[in-house]
Structures are given as structure tokens and as C-alpha cells.
């Protein structure tokens, strides 16, 4: 017998031209909604006891809606869900805690909200207290807690009773490293005792280490259901494909762009990122040969023109960069209305993540002398790992190990 059976579940959020029509619907009159937004469509899957399943998908794919339907807070518009057992969710920890009440009183209240009786709560209380490890604060008002302490107590209550299905959403980062280990341990213990885990995360390693199955949601549909490794590869490929098909060329109007400054004698009009196949791309693979193309228009006769460009990571750290002065390609005496196309190619030897392109137009070797235009975050692209082994860091560098036994 399956533990959770999701049968042809669809969910629509309906908007009506007038809310009175919605009310009329409750009284059996059928008023047509103005707009139906289907966030889930014909979802089918079955979960057996003891499985651990990762739910993967881009933002807006319908993951949270699906979890809410499984938890029971949202009702499906079509189809049915059959749950044989108790579902517990670690979604938003510490929600509904009353700051004026003590930790103990809040635990009592929260466990009551989960549907436990006074005796059951009293029995579990000492375990909860021990697991939370907040010491004498357990009998102090929650407003005196640090946010980490509040999370500990909340996690302790949420997992005080072993559920048949445990839903873990994204942040498994409860408190400090020590407590994270402890909470992770508890989740594993539950799993060993037969609890089914449903984990939502973008973190490949977390899903691969805990789950033996993954479900990929895309635009409200299950598009793949299988082993996590395979699903993640497929997911990355989709992202690359999908993002690239929708990317537009970054047009820069006048000087009205991101973080722009400069005197404006020359301006970058267009920036395009091309992948190794020569397609316009927003996502590229690690190590892929890519090209950036800048269209530059000159507005006034100037002495010389230098284009500088660099790649920054999401923290704003410059990964690498240079300019055409240093590469000895300085343009002499460009005239007004001249149009130049600068193309720079390099290998995206970068770690997985999102990167921005910085570009500047100057007269000489640096912007100190004369700065025509300065653009930060002029274009964005992400790097994903499509074909390399797993590595860490912000730079890709193939490492060849040689192991000899002596």
C-alpha cells in the first residue's frame, strides 16, 4: 500500500471580475471565473514508505503549491490526494510563536496546533527541551531568545513526533553548524525508522545525499521522475536550453542603464553573450568557449578609445578583466558617429554561479584620465556544470590526479 497517492491533481487560482460571483458559486450558482491560472496540471505520483524524494524545479514551477496540497493547507481544484499517515512539515520554523510566552508554553501551543493531546505533549516535553538545548531559557519568554534559539525550539517541536511523511523545505540551515548536524541526524533517524522524506531544494548535494528519487516539476507538470543524478542533469540542461531561447540582447538605451557613469563621448549600445555554438546565451557550461560582443557608438571626435571589460562574480569580486590598451589595440582618433564592434572571446573557466559583465570606455589606459562610459552589471550570465566532475571554487581548472602505490 502506498503512503501517499497523488492522483491527477490540478490546481487553479481563480480570479473573478467581481467577488460576488465567487460567493454565488458557493451557493450553487455557476459563475464563470474571469481568469484561471493553472499552477499544477495532472500531477500523478505514488510514494512508498521509507522513500526519500527530492522535488526539483525552477521558481514558479509549482513546488510549494504541491507541498501545500500534500500538507493539506491548500485544496486541489481537481484530482485527489490520499495520505495514509501523519504529514509534518518543516516549512517556516517558529511560525505562530508568541513572543510573550515562554518556550515551554509555546511548545505546548505549537504541539497542540499539530493536533496532539495534553498528555502526549507532556510526555514529549522533556525530549523537546533536551533536543532544543536552550537551557534555562526554555522557561523564559520567547522575545528574549536569539533567532537561533527560537529556531532550535521550533525544530524540536516540529520533529518531536515521528511523522509518516516529513516535508523539508529549502532551508535546512537551523542555527549553528552543531545544530545543523543534529537536525540532519534526526531527519536521517526518521528516515531509517521508515519516515518518507519530501525535500525541496536547489542544492544538488543535499538531494543526492538524502534522496533516492527525484521529481522534476516544470510549469506545473511532472516532467521527469527518476534517480536524482539523472534528474539533476536533465534539469540543468533544461535551464540552459530554456534560458537561452528566451534571452534577448541587452540593449542599452542612451546612458540610462544599470550603474552607469561617464562623460558620454562614446557609449556601448548593445552587449551580447554568445555560447560556443554561436547562439545568444544566458547560461553557459563550465569551460565553454564564449564570446562577448559590444557595439560601441562614438558621439564626438575623440583622441583615442579603449574598451575595458571584466567578469565579476555575484559578490562583485572581479574574476578577470583587461582593456584594449593593455592588449595594444587602442583606436586612434575615432570620429563622431563611428560604430565599432568589439568581440572578446575566452573560456568560461569559472565555478558554477551567476556572473556579471563589467564594461568601460576610456581614453587611455585607465578611467582616471578620461572616462566616457562605465557600466557595472551591464549583462548577466550563469555558469552551470554540464560535463565536468564536481568541483568547488570560483575558477575551473582541470585537476589531474595521479595515484601510485609504493
Amino acid at each position: 500500500m502506498s503512503l501517499l497517492n497523488v492522483k491527477n491533481v490540478s490546481k487553479a487560482f481563480r480570479t473573478y471580475s467581481s467577488e460576488w460571483k465567487r460567493f454565488a458559486n458557493w451557493f450553487g450558482l455557476s459563475a464563470k471565473p474571469n481568469e484561471e491560472n493553472w499552477v499544477l496540471r495532472h500531477i500523478n505520483f505514488d510514494i512508498q514508505p521509507g522513500e526519500a524524494i527530492g522535488i526539483i524545479g525552477q521558481n514558479g514551477a509549482g513546488k510549494s503549491t504541491l507541498l501545500k496540497i500534500i500538507t493539506g493547507t491548500l485544496q486541489p481544484s481537481e484530482g485527489a490526494i490520499q495520505v495514509n499517515g501523519r504529514v509534518a512539515a518543516i516549512l517556516e520554523l517558529g511560525m505562530g510563536f508568541n513572543p510573550e510566552l515562554t518556550g515551554r508554553q509555546n511548545v505546548f501551543h505549537a504541539a497542540g496546533l499539530m493536533g496532539f493531546s495534553a498528555e502526549q505533549i507532556h510526555q514529549a516535553m522533556s525530549d523537546i527541551e533536551a533536543f532544543a538545548e536552550v537551557g534555562k531559557y526554555f522557561d523564559e519568554p520567547v522575545r528574549t531568545y536569539s533567532s537561533g534559539m527560537q529556531m532550535r525550539v521550533a525544530f524540536a517541536v516540529a520533529t518531536a513526533y515521528r511523522p509518516e511523511i516529513l516535508i523539508v523545505d529549502e532551508a535546512l540551515s537551523v542555527g549553528d553548524a552543531y545544530f545543523q548536524h543534529k537536525s540532519f541526524n534526526r531527519i536521517r533517524e526518521f528516515q531509517e525508522q521508515g519516515t518518507t522524506l519530501l525535500i525541496v531544494s536547489h542544492d544538488r548535494s543535499a538531494i543526492q545525499s538524502l534522496c533516492d528519487r527525484a521529481i522534476l516539476l516544470e510549469k506545473g507538470k511532472v516532467i521527469k521522475d527518476g534517480n536524482p543524478e539523472e534528474i539533476f542533469d536533465f534539469y540543468n540542461a533544461i535551464i540552459a536550453e530554456k534560458e537561452n531561447s528566451t534571452v534577448e540582447v541587452t540593449k542599452l538605451e542612451g546612458g540610462k542603464t544599470k550603474t552607469a557613469s561617464g562623460t558620454g563621448e562614446a557609449k556601448v549600445e548593445e552587449i551580447v553573450v554568445y555560447n560556443s555554438k554561436g547562439e545568444i546565451a544566458e547560461t553557459v557550461g563550465v569551460g565553454e568557449q564564449i564570446e562577448l560582443q559590444f557595439v560601441v557608438r562614438v558621439y564626438e571626435d575623440i583622441k583615442s578609445l579603449v574598451l575595458g571589460c571584466g567578469i565579476k562574480d555575484r559578490l562583485g569580486q572581479m574574476m578577470f578583466g583587461t582593456n584594449t590598451f593593455h592588449t595594444k589595440q587602442l583606436l586612434h582618433h575615432p570620429k563622431s558617429d563611428d560604430l565599432f564592434i568589439f568581440t572578446v572571446s575566452f573560456a568560461a573557466n569559472l565555478g558554477v554561479g551567476s556572473y556579471s559583465v563589467h564594461v568601460s570606455l576610456v581614453e587611455e589606459q585607465s578611467h582616471i584620465e578620461k572616462n566616457f562610459q562605465w557600466l557595472d552589471r551591464a549583462a548577466m550570465f550563469s555558469v552551470i556544470n554540464l560535463d565536468k566532475y564536481k568541483f568547488v571554487g570560483t575558477a575551473w581548472n582541470e585537476m589531474n590526479f595521479k595515484i601510485e602505490k609504493k
Binding site: 487560482f13 481563480r14 467577488e19 465567487r22 460567493f23 458557493w26 451557493f27 501545500k68 500538507t71 493539506g72 493547507t73 491548500l74 485544496q75 504529514v87 512539515a89 516549512l91 517556516e92 511560525m95 505562530g96 508568541n98 510573550e100 510566552l101 508554553q105 505546548f108 501551543h109 497542540g112 496546533l113 499539530m114 493536533g115 496532539f116 493531546s117 495534553a118 505533549i121 519568554p141
Partner: protein, 264 residues
């Protein structure tokens, strides 16, 4: 319907601890604590009494206590406070609890139950303190006072029915939440609480019968001020209206529960 009550029973500890927590947290860190609950309505009585007693005292027939007006006021306010508190709490109930309704799965019926419980508790405390004051003012009581038990029950039913219907609609049409406090204010002045009904011109007085709260405050006055049996005829129709409203509200509640979370 039966399932609703069954799940309510399963969650009884949650309901009780919620009512207690509400009480505790409301007065946490205030020196006078629970006394504030009594000070607030009493100051209201004091204000009306000071301002209006000279004008109105002479017109309160059939009672010779010189504090008659204050007693009359308190009796009416005891009923009105319960009524308006339940309505205003129910009105914003689902919006305030929206976050928890979206994240946790629990029987929604517990929410209005908590409101009724905590408003009822407030009303009992207010009643006890009023009794104390009545005795100080030299007012006598009889067994008729026990009529307050069914009366309170009718007020709760009426207020819950109205409040729940409006509270559900308020989730979808937020104007309701703004309009109702104004309407309650007007309703208050159209009910003989601050003034005796005798000051209303004879030709309009029959319209009072259309106001269900008139029958209720009238019964409170009869019981608490005059030590008389309340007028049953008016109360029966109010009770009937209240029952219908509660049934409609529970029906609406069942129908709307799913969609409420969608728009919260």
C-alpha cells in the same frame, strides 16, 4: 458538519491553550494585568454616566436607586460588548491568521471557536466585576439573573453568525473590514443602551422591534435592572434568526475554506 465537531474535539487542547495564551499575552508585562479588562468598560460607563445621567436619570422609570442610570448602562453594555467584540474579532480573524492557515494544516473551525471562547471569558469577567459594583451601589439580585445564561448564548450565536459571514467575505472584499466598525458604531446608537427607549418618540418606537439587539438589550435590562423575567416573544424570534445565521455561516465556512487560503 459532524466531522467539523469531531475535529474540534480532537483539537480541544489547542483551543483551550489558545484562549489561555491570549489572556496571558494580552496583559503580560503590565502591572495591573487583568484589571485592565475591567477598567476599560467601566471607564466607558463612568464617562456616559457623568455626562448623561443628569439628563436621563429622571426619565428612567420604575426604579428608585439613585445610581439607576449607571446600572442601566452597565446592563446594556454587558450585552453589547460581547456582541461587538465577537463581530469585530471574527471580521479580521482569517486575515490575521492567514499566515498560519497557509502553512499549517489544522481544523479551521478552531479559529472562530477560540474567538468565542476568549470573548466569552472576557464577558464573564466583566459580568463578575459588574456584579461587584452593583452590590456596592446597593442593587439587589434574584434568581432571575440566571436568565443571563441563555441570553449570553443567544448573543454569542447572533454575533458569531454575523461575524463569521462577514469575516469570510472580508477575505475577498476587504472593504467590508473597513465598513463594519462604522456600521457597528451606528448600530450601537440605534439600540437603547445609553438612553432608555422611552425617549424615542412614540411614532417611531415600533421600528425598534426590527433591531435584534434591541430585544437582547431589553432582556438584559429586564433581568439586571428590574429583576424581571425577560420578554420571551421577542427573544424567540432573535434566537431563530441567530440559528439561521449560524447555519448559513457554517455552510459558507465549509464552502469558502478552500478558496480562502488561495487568496490570503
Amino acid at each position: 458538519m459532524f466531522n467539523m465537531f469531531k475535529s474540534l474535539w480532537l483539537y480541544r487542547y489547542f483551543v483551550l491553550s489558545s484562549i489561555r495564551n491570549e489572556l496571558v499575552s494580552r496583559f503580560a508585562r503590565s502591572k495591573l494585568g487583568g484589571l485592565w479588562m475591567i477598567i476599560q468598560p467601566l471607564s466607558q460607563v463612568l464617562i456616559y454616566a457623568l455626562i448623561l445621567s443628569n439628563i436621563l436619570a429622571a426619565k428612567l422609570p420604575g426604579i428608585d436607586n439613585k445610581y439607576a442610570y449607571a446600572i442601566y448602562l452597565m446592563a446594556g453594555l454587558l450585552a453589547w460588548n460581547l456582541f461587538s467584540e465577537i463581530i469585530s474579532r471574527s471580521l479580521t480573524l482569517f486575515i490575521e491568521q492567514g499566515n498560519i492557515m497557509k502553512k499549517m494544516s489544522f481544523p479551521r473551525i478552531t479559529l472562530p471557536t477560540i474567538v468565542v471562547g476568549s470573548c466569552g471569558l472576557n464577558n464573564i469577567l466583566l459580568f463578575i466585576s459588574m456584579m461587584g459594583i452593583f452590590l456596592l451601589l446597593g442593587h439587589q439580585f434574584s434568581f432571575v439573573t440566571f436568565w443571563l445564561i441563555p441570553l449570553t448564548f443567544i448573543v454569542i450565536m447572533l454575533a458569531l453568525g454575523i461575524g463569521l459571514i462577514l469575516g469570510i467575505m472580508n477575505v475577498f472584499i476587504r472593504d467590508i473590514g473597513q465598513a463594519i466598525p462604522i456600521i457597528l458604531q451606528i448600530w450601537f446608537w440605534f439600540t437603547p443602551i445609553v438612553y432608555p427607549e422611552s425617549i424615542i418618540p412614540e411614532s417611531y418606537r415600533h421600528l425598534l422591534a426590527l433591531n435584534p439587539m434591541y430585544h437582547i438589550t431589553n432582556a438584559y435590562h429586564q433581568v439586571l435592572v428590574y429583576n424581571q423575567m425577560p420578554d420571551i416573544n421577542g427573544l424567540i424570534s432573535v434566537f431563530f434568526i441567530a440559528c439561521v445565521l449560524v447555519l448559513v455561516s457554517l455552510f459558507l465556512f465549509r464552502r469558502a475554506s478552500a478558496e480562502m487560503v488561495d487568496v490570503l
